[in-house]
Symmetry: C2
Subunit: 188 residues, 2 copies
């Protein structure tokens, strides 16, 4: 195993540092809001050197994008239940669980803030949505392949994700199972 | 005319100061984001004394709430076109125009940020929504009085306002007339 492989071994030091830095960012967003902390403060919170962060991520903006992408993507693999209604209900419930969880508001605010932060942020936000849309699209394509009538990925954004995001952003929680299933049933 | 009446005369000094302070807040939110400026900076931008702001609004939080309420409420009186479809299409187009206008993103971010800012912010956000919901409800009640089948005010939030807010927050603009009418038609 060479140096590079060791550094990237899952569960190794690199993964640990990554997780600690990500958690520090999420905590700082929760406590202070987006844009109110520096790379130095993230480093101090995570117990690493500033230079480690700059070496790995290059800038605070890139780090924030990485956190948003990781949190919004990795935590919810797309469901494959055999029916579109089942997939969408499971997916909507996963998203609801994420965005109402302890770091949920921070992650939604981060996703929103990215797009409001100049050209680099707009690009980061677009990349984040492109990845989610790709995953969502394969779920909808599977339904179409089974002969089901599937909506557009934008319909899912407008009528399932947007209402949940806005209710979390406005503090109108919890999102009950009845409410979430209602959004899906209404869209279908 | 006594001193009090003079101070409140529309177009008088008080109204001018109010408008300048509101514009200063909107500009600072656009430039720096919510939470990244002080009462002193608002005062300097508006060309008034800090003490004038504290005397009139008491705190930065109250001032921000006042700006959000004024911008989101006063600028769009509820339409009364004689049909629910006409009212909702006009209303949705008004909201779209506001939130995609020069200060639109700042106002949406302010409405969102209010609710993420502790108990006082949650209350301010709830007050803001209560006022909008009351106006919306009278529009829906008029439709019901005419014998039309009207949705719930929360349906309007979830399926007309939330998609537009999220698209503005994500930088997915413009909101075309076809898109806006489509949201209304789909909901009805």
């Amino acid at each position: 195993m060479n140096e590079r492989q060791r550094a990237r071994r899952p569960g190794g030091r690199s993964a640990r540092v990554g997780a600690e830095v990500h958690q520090a960012v999420t905590d700082l967003i929760s406590e202070r809001g987006y844009g109110n902390f520096t790379v130095g403060e993230v480093a101090a919170r995570a117990g690493v050197a500033d230079s480690s962060i700059y070496r790995r991520w290059g800038s605070l903006e890139t780090l924030l994008t990485d956190v948003a992408l990781t949190r919004l993507n990795a935590q919810s693999p797309m469901p494959d239940t055999g029916s579109l209604a089942g997939d969408l209900r499971t997916y909507a419930a996963q998203v609801a669980r994420e965005i109402t969880g302890p770091d949920g508001l921070a992650v939604v605010r981060l996703a929103v803030a990215l797009s409001s932060n100049g050209q680099q942020g707009l690009q980061a936000g677009a990349d984040l949505r492109a990845e989610r849309t790709r995953q969502l699209q394969s779920m909808l394509d599977r339904a179409r392949d089974r002969g089901e009538h599937a909506p557009d990925a934008f319909d899912v954004l407008d009528h399932i994700l947007a209402p949940m995001y806005i209710r979390v952003l406005f503090g109108m929680v919890p999102l009950t199972p009845d409410y979430i299933d209602g959004l899906v049933d209404r869209m279908l």
